[in-house]
């Protein structure tokens, strides 16, 4: 179950960040922020190709005491970060991937909206809905 989902723009400012309300949101903000370093490191490492789907998915960025952070970067350097609670059933890699795929799809839909300016925070209800769907149930 994801406890926090964040979308970070290319310039490393957040476009969208959402945590389970019960948690201390600030802590997740910090976590996501620090995970950006790991993301950068991985991006530079995976420089070989433009990146196919596999490379878009960065995998487990780093595990901490009670949660794991997964990363995913799009071709336009927009990063998705999912923070998962470790206490939950360890999610399969595939499940995380599918979560990212869903996120990416809905993010694309948001981008397609002509009324959305790239660089604005994401205020789409559809996107919110999808994120909520991911945060509550496991995986």
């Amino acid at each position: 179950m994801a406890v926090c989902i964040a979308v970070i723009a290319k310039e490393n400012y957040p476009l969208y960040i959402r945590s389970l309300p019960t948690q201390n949101e600030l802590k997740f903000h910090y976590t996501v922020h620090t995970s950006l370093d790991v993301v950068e490191e991985k991006i530079s490492a995976v420089g070989k190709s433009v990146g196919d789907q596999r490379e878009l998915y960065l995998g487990l960025l780093y595990p901490t005491e009670d949660y794991k952070v997964y990363g995913y970067v799009t071709n336009s350097k927009v990063k998705f970060v999912i923070v998962v609670d470790s206490s939950n059933t360890s999610l399969r890699d595939n499940e995380i991937r599918s979560m990212f795929r869903k996120l990416h799809n809905s993010f694309t839909d948001v981008m397609c909206n002509p009324f959305h300016n790239p660089g604005d925070t994401i205020q789409s209800k559809t996107f919110d809905g999808i994120v909520s769907g991911m945060m509550v149930p496991p995986g």
Partner: protein, 802 residues
């Protein structure tokens, strides 16, 4: 509190509202209950209301004093216009429309509001006539016309006032409350005022309220006759300038009066026309309406016209940027427009087709009229799935046809767009369309299933290598057997089902011939074909061994005809062994189609009668391979046996059973299987044998089969025919089976054979299922291991963190 300057109109309005809320008659404090209701009626999100409450200081004071109340009202107005809530904006915002309250609060209230707005509107009308945007004069602040209340309704008012409905007849709001409209009941409130909107007609269609509201605007210019508009009785026909019907044309905020006279006029014209027709339509519709989101014909016509202004080709798309500009003119907040876009861009392609555009337009109209945006696209607005097959006809015409927003209507219009879609954005469109349709129909799943079903029938043969794919009637079997015998390795059975199969078989045999099975001799063609179940030939073999060979055992497939598809998927599970077994059998070259039933690998499934159990011959797999080889030689001679059921009969079954057992053992399997197959029953048996073979692993079932075989044998013996089976069978069997008595397969034992083969098939199924589950388990274990390894790896990886 912050000082607040109100215009006259506002002052009046607010004081009325305050009085309304002042249930305690204290003249100072508005009761919280009423106030809260009022705020709720403003249709703002609760956070906004909370914020307003805080800002106005009510929370501080704990109650709503007059000033707080006024401030709150002003803030509501601000919020409703989409402006951020700021205290500073209280005084700075000019031309702020009056706050709208949709819930039918009090009639009086509505009346007041309507009054104010109407007057304003009215005032505007005259002005609008002169200037393109009468409204702009700020809500009533500038009451240039000197309307009674001069509620300056800024351009936005167009929307808002849905209410100002100049409703000629103050219809008792009831209509307004059309239940559907859960959202804003603004219409009702508007209705209240009996203003005589130039257009008039009130109430009625609440449903169409949103549309009506808009339309009423149109009407207004016409001056209304439109009595029936009903929707917003109070809607006073927006001044011509306001037409911009949803203030689209009103590009500029109210402050820009007389903005585009020309455009306004144009729009006015359009609207008026539309509105006129619409009015009637609305009236009609309102009566029978149940769907607040339905698009009336007039509305749709209007939308189509607007669409044309942007994109002349009605079947084309409006690109996102153009749509954005267009809808931005409506002056809705960007967030809402964004939401509307998300709702209406059904295929998420960044462009609007005619239907999507109509839906978006309708939503904008609704929103302007005070309706809340739905979370999901309403059914009536949903664009018909793109009909890939639709050849696009005149979308317009279709659109014109009683649209009412029914999806059906959409389709027609969509179809035209589809083609254009394809042309214009081939990939996008196609993918979208396909996506749409696909998702709707979940075609993939369907196709998958279909596929499976198709395969199933075909497979059985291959896997099972039933010598006799066809249903074998006793006579037929005999005939076939005879044929087989005659023809020797020639599978082609001129007669009966076998015959039908034979040709295929023979072909197959030719093809496969030992394709898959090395050992397979030409004889095994029949078998090989079946053997090749693993290979492409499978289908062909399948055909042959249709006899009950259930395609790939695992596949449910119900083998087309014959019966027992015993081991459908020999190919699969026992691919290894089975193949070998079959190969062996193939080698034996059961030319007879009947024999084909047995995939070589399958250890000679005991003849149907007997095999079912015993033949599970999983052992057959390993053994089968061996057996096949061994049997092959035998098989050759055996073939005749297979083919000749009569032989079996005549055959004391000793051989048969023996052959059968052998088949199980793999070698036996081949033999008996074949023999079995040859008979009509053979199929079954073969299947059963195959099944047994497939079981691969079930271990030697020889013993069990024996009894069965004996039964068969007896049956066979019973059979009168005695042809060469005997000798051949014996040979074969002896050679192959060597132990188990061959099961006499009497043609007449079809039923039994069938049952036996069924049994065999079932056994095979079970075995295979077991195997499958075991493999699954193994797979799971492996996956877990992999995951754990991955985790370890991750942990080991030095991570920069924290």
């Amino acid at each position: 509190m912050e000082s607040l300057t109100l215009t006259d109109v506002e002052q009046k309005y607010y004081s009325d509202l305050f009085i309304y809320c002042d249930t305690d008659n204290t003249k100072k404090v508005a009761s919280n209950g009423r106030v809260l209701d009022l705020f709720r009626a403003a249709q703002l999100p609760s956070e906004v209301v909370l914020q307003i409450t805080e800002l106005c200081g009510a929370t501080r004071l704990g109650h709503f004093g007059r000033s707080q109340f006024y401030i709150a009202l002003k803030l509501i107005a601000i919020a409703q216009s989409g402006l951020p809530l700021r205290v500073e904006s209280l005084n700075s915002v000019k031309d702020l429309p009056l706050p709208r309250f949709v819930v039918g609060k009090n009639e009086a209230e509505a009346r007041h509001a309507a009054l104010y707005q109407d007057s304003d509107a009215q005032g505007l009308y005259p002005a609008s006539a002169a200037a393109a945007m009468p409204r702009p004069p700020g809500r009533g602040f500038q009451s240039k016309k000197g309307p009674p209340s001069s509620t300056s309704l800024p351009a936005h008012e167009v929307i808002q006032p849905l209410a100002p409905s100049i409703d000629p007849q103050p219809e008792p709001t009831s209509p307004v409350v059309s239940p559907h409209q859960s959202p804003p009941t603004s219409p009702p409130s508007w209705r209240k005022h009996q203003r005589q909107p130039s257009g008039g007609a009130t109430d009625r269609q609440v449903v169409v309220a949103p549309a009506g509201a808009v339309w009423t605007h149109f009407r207004e210019p016409q001056a209304g006759p439109a009595p029936g508009e009903g929707m917003w009785p109070s809607h006073s026909p927006p001044p011509p300038g306001q037409e911009s019907w949803v203030s689209f044309t009103a590009d500029t905020p109210p402050s820009i009066p007389g903005m585009h006279p020309s455009s306004v006029q144009e729009s006015t014209t359009i609207r008026t026309v539309a509105s006129a027709s619409m009015t009637n339509e609305i009236q009609r519709q309102s009566s029978g309406y149940d769907d607040p989101w339905k698009i009336t014909d007039e509305q749709r016509q209007y939308y189509i016209n607007q669409f044309k202004t942007i994109q002349p080709d009605l079947s084309g798309f409006i690109p996102g940027s153009a749509a954005k500009e267009f809808f931005t003119k409506s002056k809705l907040p960007i967030l809402e427009l964004s939401h509307i876009w998300e709702l209406s861009d059904f295929d998420k392609d960044g462009a609007l087709t005619l239907d999507e555009f109509c839906a978006a337009f309708h939503l904008v109209v609704a929103r302007k009229n005070g309706y809340d945006l739905p979370e999901k696209l309403p059914e009536s607005l949903m664009p018909k799935l793109i009909d890939l097959d639709d050849s696009a006809g005149g979308s317009e015409q279709t659109a014109d046809v009683g649209y009412s927003g029914s999806p059906v209507e959409v389709t027609p219009s969509k179809s035209p767009s589809m083609p254009s879609l394809n042309q214009a954005w081939p990939e996008m469109n196609q993918s979208n369309e396909q996506w749409e349709t696909f998702s709707e129909r979940s075609s993939s799943s369907q196709t998958l299933t279909q596929f499976d079903s198709n395969i199933a029938p075909a497979d059985p043969d291959t896997a099972i290598v039933h010598p006799v794919p066809i249903r074998m009637t006793p006579s037929k079997i005999h005939m076939q057997e005879m044929e087989l015998k005659r023809t020797g390795s020639d599978h082609n059975h001129p007669t009966s089902p076998l015959l039908t199969k034979p040709p295929e078989l023979s072909e197959e045999t030719n093809i496969p011939a030992s394709m898959k099975f090395v050992a397979a001799n030409p004889v095994g063609d029949g078998y090989s074909s079946s053997d090749s179940f693993t290979s492409d030939q499978e289908p062909t073999t399948r055909q042959r061994s249709q006899s009950g060979t259930s395609p790939e055992a695992l596949k449910v497939v119900a083998p087309p005809p014959p019966p027992p598809r015993p081991h459908p998927s020999h190919s699969r599970s026992s691919s290894l062994d089975m193949n070998r077994t079959f190969a062996a059998t193939a080698v034996a070259g059961q030319p007879q189609s009947s024999t084909i039933a047995y995939p070589p690998a399958v250890p000679p499934r005991p003849l149907p009668t007997q095999t079912s159990a015993p033949h599970t011959g999983h052992r057959g797999e390993a053994e089968a391979a061996a057996a096949t080889t061994t049997t092959s030689p035998h098989l050759i001679p055996q073939q005749p046996n297979f083919a000749d059921f009569s032989q079996f009969q005549a055959f004391a079954a000793s051989e048969q059973p023996s052959s059968l057992p052998e088949a199980e053992k793999s070698s036996e399997g081949a033999g008996p299987l074949r023999t079995v197959k040859s008979d009509g029953q053979a199929d079954e048996r073969a299947s059963s044998t195959v099944n047994s073979v497939k079981a691969s692993g079930s271990g030697p079932l020889a013993p069990p089969p024996k009894p069965v075989r004996r039964r068969l044998k007896s049956e066979d013996e019973l059979r009168p025919e005695d042809e060469q089976h005997g000798p051949q069978k014996s040979n074969v069997i002896a050679a192959v089976l060597a132990t188990q008595p061959s099961i006499p397969r009497s043609v007449g034992k079809d039923k039994k054979a069938i049952q036996a083969s069924i049994r065999r098939n079932k056994e095979t199924n079970t075995v295979l299922a077991r195997l499958n589950s075991e493999l699954q388990q193994q797979l799971k274990d492996l996956l877990e291991e992999r995951i754990s390894l991955e985790v370890q790896l991750e942990q080991l990886r030095p991570f920069s963190h924290l």
